[in-house]
Structure formats: C-alpha cells, structure tokens
Subunit: 314 residues, 2 copies
C-alpha cells in the first residue's frame, strides 16, 4: 500500500456573496485555485517535500491579482501594501516569517529564506527588506501591487471612515476588508507535513497592524502530526493561538483532525463572534476545511482522488 | 477560606555566572526584583485586577537599567533599541502587543493600550509609535536607553562578529546576548489571571528581528486556567508556541501546572538545545518557575507567604 499524499489550499474566507459573483470572476478564481493545486501536487508527485509544495502553491495565488496576498494585496490607510507571511516545516519544526514588508512580490519566499538562511523566525519591515536584498531578492516598486479593485476598496473604506466615527478606531472596516489571505498545507510521500500562509492584511489598516499570518501558532503551524493554515479576522486567531490549538487538541486531547479543527473554530471564532476558516491536513492524509463565513476559496487534491475546488458552502 | 492570590516575576534567564556577579550588583538586582514584586502585590492586595499588577511590576523592571527591557534594553547592530512587549488578560482573552518600537519608555504600557484602545493585537515599528503619540504617549529620545553596559555589550558583539564569519548569519552572539527579558504573571483576589512580557531583544540584532515577546502564545499567554511569561532564546519559544503549549497541556492533557511547565521546557528547549525559562501561575495559586540556564532572575510573593527572590539554581 502506498502512503497517501496531497495538498489543501485556501484563498481567503469572508462574505463572498453569490449575488456579487459574476460567472467570469468565479471561473477565474476556480482556474487559479486549480492551477495552485496542480503546481503543489506536482511537487509532491515527483517525490519532493511538502515544504516546496506549499510554497509553490502559495506563489501561484500570490502572483494572481485575485487574492489578498502578493500582487493582489489590499492597500493600507496610507495607500501602501504591507504584507505578512509564515512558513513552517513540520518535520524539522523550523519556521520563518516576515511582517509589514512593502516591496516583496512573494512574501512566502522571503519567509522561507528567513527560515533557511537566518537563525531567526520573524523579521519585520525595512529590516526584513534589507535581509531580502542581501539574499538576492529583487525589491519591486509599489506599482506592482496596484489593482483597480483594491484601490477602490480603500477609497470605499476611507469614505465609510469619514461618515462614521468609531472611538475604538475600528477603521470602519466592512466584513470584506477583514478577510482574505492565501495558504496551503501538504503531506508528502515521505510522510512530512508543511504549512504556509501569505496575506495582504486588512484594507485601510494603520499603525503597522500585523495579523495572524505573521505569527507561528496563530495563522500557521506544522508538526509531525498535522499542518494548519488559517484565514479570517486575524485578531481572533492570534488570541486563540488557533493553528497550534488544533495541533494541541490532537496531541494532548487525542482528538481527530476533524474534531480538533471543528472544535477550535467553534470555540475560538463562532462563540466569540469572530469569522474565518482554515485548512488542515494530518499525517494520515485526513483533511479538514472548516469555516464559519459565507464562503471560503478552497480546494484539495489528494493522491487517491480528483481535484476539488469550491467557493461557497455546500 | 480566602482565595489565594499573588504574583511571580522574572528579569531574564541566561549564563548568569556567580564568578561574574559582584555583591553590589547582586544586591541591586535583588532590590529591584523585590520592589517589582511588592508593587504588583500591592495592586492585588487592594483588590484590583491581575492585569494592572503585572503591568506595574513590569514597569519597575523596565524603568531599571539592570534588565533588558525599557531603560536597559540592549542595542541593535545599528546602535538602536528595538523593543517588543505583550500583555494578555486571562479573564477576557484579550491581548495587546508591540514589536520593534524604538522610542517608548514602557513598551508594556503601549501593549496594554493596543489591547484596550484598538481592535488589533499587534502593532509594529513606526506605525505603533504613531498609535502611541495619538494616544498621549511621549516618545523618548534614544539617549534615554543609553547605558554603558549595553553599549559595551554591542561593541564586544561587533568585535566578535569581525573575528568570525558565520554563513547562517548567527551574528556571533554570545549566550548572554540571546537572553534577558522581563515578565510577570499574577492571580488576583477575583480569581483572574494575567501575563505580561517586555523585552529589548538581542544585542547586535539586525533585519528587524522580532522575538517571542511580541507573539501571543509564544512568549506570553493567559486564559482562565493559567498565565505564562517566558524568557530565553526567543526563536525556540516561537517554534514551540511555548506559553500556549503549557496552557494546552493543562487544558487538553489534564496535566498540573508544574508538570505542564516542566514538560514544555524539556521538550521545546532542553531536547532541542534551546535555553531559557519561564514563570507560570494557575487559578488555584500554584506556581512554576522552570529554567534550563545557569540562572534566572526571579521571584514570587503569594498571599500565604513571604517574598522569595532568587538568581541562581538552588
């Protein structure tokens, strides 16, 4: 009997309304998610590691303007793009992350480089970009990240902000603004797991806000038993240390992946009025894709089956 | 029977050699740790919350040049001071954190303000400082953080760096450079828990390195069952999500605080050749202060007993 292997991806969760989705846009999203799945799956099929598979799959989504990561990253209040990313190797327990980087086309590649070529886990801002240039990364101009859709989202958020006044500084975010992140988790033929998450953060964010996508344990985690990548309203994932919470429920509580992922979403998100979802895979090839939003861009391709790509609830 | 309450603090762990310690320095350290304990304990004794107690205790250590946080923060490669801090309220599950701030005298106060006055958990760099000024914080000049001892540590690290060449960019850090952070955990009369950690990071650090002290779950965690603050080689605490790992062992594995803290230090630090320690307290007033270094500046003062302050192993 051959070992199972495969990959699971997400392209963000949120108020994805069927009424706002055109057939053209839906087709584009499904096409890109399917491409990301095959790119990652091919790495696994050739016998290479899960770490490379999740990175390559995330790269496809980062390179697309459709998702809030890389090219399609949303704009901050100041009209910039500040991105966060984390990658973790479940076999070695090593991890790399970057936060608040503005000129990196593929933040997940920089996170991987932090993991492989530095003694650190997390580098931020200009310091992370200095590390990038010293390691051969090309800094892209901010025009690289310009898309009409994201710019219009910022203008809409700024207008809402003028119309409202919120003492807590909630930045007049719509539910849509809070979501969107891309990620992948994979199990390779050797039984090793990995997870990767890359995010453009929140439209109109200020003050150098960093979300769960830069925090090992919150938005991303992998060990020898499972790999998790999350998407949604990041602060809830940070407070609940959600990605690691799933691993801990399995490790210490003896739960299955599905039980652990479902319980963690319920207790850390739904019960606390937080929104989002996650993807997870375990060492036996079980997968879970729970979310409590209208939709989550998601897909999986396992060695035993056909590719599955979905947007809305079933 | 009255509920137990109390506070536990640390001022960093590392290669604290008796041979390098003068009686004068030892007396100063013990005096400041004792002051921090009493300041925090007084808050609890008056019936106020654990959150205020840990913040006030950390303030005392931040205001002293003796510890690597606030005033005594170590220098980065560029001769600056970049600090990280996190605070978490176990009762509400809320948390606030800052990373890479250069001009904040008491980073733990800014972390508390992020928690109370923003919808976010983590703010970084200049963005965090802009949030600070908008909320009435005074930015201090970099001279505030100048101490001869820290400057000499940087010069020594720069000299070592010139003499060695390390492809992994390990920055020629001595064991001493990797440690030092201050923190506090407390249980108040109402049965609520809180944790706070504040750190100047690593001498000679570059590239905007951020450690576990800015990451909820890694260096700081509190829920209704326990509160944890860590100190040591931060990257190990981040990969193992160590502070939350202790809570998870108790929550899902049914371990006692002491068992959970001991097992987590063993598996995440000692077995992986990482160094450091932590302080923890649970809802019943049990405490744990494990470390695998030569020493850890530490102390506790519980409602039932006398203050205890120690530096070396017993």
């Amino acid at each position: 009997m051959t070992r199972p292997f495969g990959i699971v991806i997400h392209g963000g969760a949120g108020t994805i309304l069927k009424s706002k989705m055109t057939p053209e846009k839906e087709a584009c999203i499904i096409e890109t998610l399917t491409e990301a799945l095959y790119v990652g799956f091919t790495v696994l099929q050739k016998g290479h590691g899960a770490l490379g598979a999740v990175r390559k799959a995330v790269n496809v989504m980062e390179n697309s303007p459709l998702f809030n990561a890389g090219r399609g990253a949303v704009f901050t209040h100041d009209g910039l793009n500040e991105q966060d990313a984390t990658i973790m190797d479940g076999f070695t327990g090593q991890a790399g992350a970057v936060a608040g980087v503005r000129r990196i086309a593929n933040p997940i590649d920089l996170a991987a480089r932090v993991m492989s070529d530095s003694p650190h886990v997390l580098l931020i801002g200009e310091g992370a970009e200095r590390f990038a240039t010293e390691h051969g990364f090309k800094l892209v101009d901010k025009e690289y990240f310009y898309t009409d859709q994201r710019w219009e989202q910022l203008q809409a958020a700024l207008t809402r902000e003028k119309e409202t006044s919120d003492r807590k500084g909630d930045l007049a975010l719509s539910e849509d603004d809070k979501h969107g992140t891309v990620g992948a988790v994979a199990l390779d033929k050797h039984g090793c797991l990995a997870a990767a998450t890359s995010s453009g953060g929140m439209t109109n964010k200020r003050f150098g806000r960093v979300g769960d996508s830069a925090c090992v344990g919150a938005g991303t985690f992998a060990d020898k038993q499972c790999a998790v990548s999350t998407t949604g309203h990041g602060e809830f994932f940070m407070r609940g240390v959600l990605a690691y919470d799933i691993a801990a429920r399995m490790r210490y509580g003896g739960m299955s992946l599905e039980e652990a992922a479902g319980a963690s979403v319920r207790e850390n998100l739904t019960d606390r009025k937080g929104t989002g979802g996650l993807i997870a895979i375990d060492k036996d090839g079980n997968i879970a894709l729970p979310f409590n939003t209208e939709g989550m861009y998601r897909g999986y391709l396992m060695s035993a089956g056909e590719p599955v790509v979905k947007i809305f609830k079933e």
